[in-house]
Symmetry: C2
Subunit: 357 residues, 2 copies
């Protein structure tokens, strides 16, 4: 794959902006989109000239393969504005890299990485007024690609459409989160697509999650599909368990998403002398730690929530509540991450990426 | 769920037909669509008035959930025309029933079964000139439903669009088919969505299938994701193994599609005194049977191909060719099925469903 496309990115600006119609104090996550989007078509065996143009609907034939065969993948990333109005992306190359790993697994042509980053920066800069200052405010960025060929034979599409769309986001507060450990349903098979941000991985979780909600849980922590004995991830977040003063998190495998926030937490833990054991996490161990009062925290890590503390969990019909920790790791990591994201601290790891104005 | 919607189906006929532009002697599977389609929207918590209208494109927001979360399912069924110009559906209620089972697993509202069948019959009758006479000719019917709500939060959609589209099909000949037994990749997890016709199940198979094609195989026979020791299904077909004079096929579980053609083959086998053992089929047993010359046939069953004979298979880098059987079961079942589908024989099982003219 070439790193960049030979053509330049065509920019067509929207005639008017929707920004004045948006209530930035009352945003629902992922519901409002900025004035522009990046699009690029794959036809005749190659990616064509990309463009940035006014955000708007697309027209597809009812037989387009994305509707029938779920040949689609996405990424989630964020941009932040610092006190000097500089806009920053957080580790964008990690997401671009994973976007192409997901594409490959879904038999979708990879997108040239330099053109991806160039278009992303142009787009975010064009819509920079949508990135609001203030801790918690951000621009949620959704790159995705869909199979657009017409026809209902079950084979890879010959044509695709790449998009980047952006949605202003406020501090993510999902209420008190309790989770249930999966005992029956599964998210991913070994040898499957669990490690990819494949569209179908998400729709498949909605029904079991609805059942969990009826039991009073907001999310499911998925276990391995073979035995349901090991805790893996939460579908939109990786998961950390604090037992005593050390953290446990599952190792990456082909069922688990290799989270950028997860890796950032591990790096920050190492930097700050917090032990992280990256190893299989038995359900039994966590339940026993909870019973002994040694389970201090559970938290999820992901782009949307950054760090999401979990108040309790359910397993085999029993409900466990976690104590209120005095100095929660979840707060510590969230604060450390946000300091870097909002340019409040030195960027030792080189995670901030400036968006040129 | 109500069995039928309270409203009648609105029919808007196409002003002109595309039928004269179609070369019915050279159809590529699933590539040409008839003049009309059935559509129905789910909004405000219920299915609205369905309609049959000219086949044409649809417009969606780039944030529509189907693009991001693969919340979409489908069915595949066929209509046949007999020598007296009567059009018949084959076991349509089985597909409608499975459509709703798939919907439920993907957290999609189920579609009222009587309205589904009523609309299907109206649509097929309106486009009956597209159903060509002659053994092998058929109308392939693709009902599907997609999540249409705008917004990129990972939760079930509040709105959906139901479609039935139809494509004229010729006798399915896919060339000589050789398969490879999966050793590394998997199609479905226990506790997952493998038993549903979920869109994402199909896109997830494209990459491993591409790799298999590079090795000279057209399809993969998937094995259980845990051990890869048991043969399950082929992604678009259920699989039968003939060892000596008996047939083996895997039992239905939550990883395997409950194929209508599979059940029809089992019923026909019973009727004709052919033993079918529905049980786990170890890879080892099939390889040993092949080595001893006892493996007489492998064939797939599915709506598109009806019965698809398989010439050979690969396992652990070794290629096995099957002998040319003198009276192949695959031919026997295909012929029996087609006799019923084209109204050439008595319909003992009640599988034919007439489309009212």
């Amino acid at each position: 794959m070439e790193n960049s496309l030979p053509t330049s990115i065509d920019v067509v600006e929207a005639k008017t902006s929707k920004i004045d119609s948006v209530d930035f104090e009352n945003l629902k996550f992922g519901n409002v989109f900025t004035d522009h989007m990046m699009v690029c078509d794959f036809v005749d065996g190659e990616w064509q000239s990309p463009s940035i143009k006014p955000y708007g609907p697309i027209q597809l034939d009812p037989s387009a393969k994305v509707f029938h065969y779920g040949q689609a993948i996405f990424e989630g990333m964020k941009a932040f504005k610092d006190d000097d109005d500089q806009v920053w992306l957080f580790r964008p190359k990690e997401n671009i890299n994973r976007f192409n790993k997901s594409s490959k697994r879904l038999a979708i042509p990879e997108f040239p990485e330099a053109t991806f980053l160039e278009g992303l920066e142009l787009l975010v800069n064009l819509d920079r007024d949508w990135v609001k200052k203030g801790r918690g405010n951000s621009l949620y960025i959704r790159p995705f690609v869909i199979a657009t060929e017409n026809g209902v034979s079950a084979s890879p599409s010959n044509s695709y459409k790449f998009f980047i769309i952006c949605s202003p986001a406020q501090s993510y507060y999902s209420g008190e989160v309790r989770v249930v450990f999966a005992e029956e349903f599964s998210r991913a098979a070994s040898g499957g697509v669990g490690y990819a941000k494949a569209a179908g991985n998400y729709g498949a979780q909605f029904y079991p999650t609805n059942l969990a909600k009826q039991e009073g849980y907001q999310q499911i922590i998925w276990t391995d599909a073979d035995t349901h004995e090991f805790l893996e991830e939460a579908g939109t977040m990786n998961i950390f368990f604090r037992v005593g003063d050390k953290l446990l998190t599952a190792p990456i495998n082909d069922r688990i998403l290799n989270g950028v926030t997860r890796r950032s937490v591990i790096a920050l833990a190492e930097e700050n002398g917090i032990t992280v054991e990256v190893r299989r996490v038995p359900v039994k161990e966590i339940v026993e730690a909870a019973e002994k009062g040694e389970l201090k925290e559970i938290f999820g890590s992901g782009t949307a929530a950054t760090i999401n503390p979990i108040k309790g969990f359910g397993y085999q019909g029993k409900k466990f509540e976690l104590p209120e920790p005095s100095k929660p790791y979840s707060e510590f990591f969230k604060s450390k991450l946000m300091d870097i994201q909002y340019n409040k601290t030195e960027d030792k790891f080189g995670w901030r990426h400036p968006v040129k104005a």
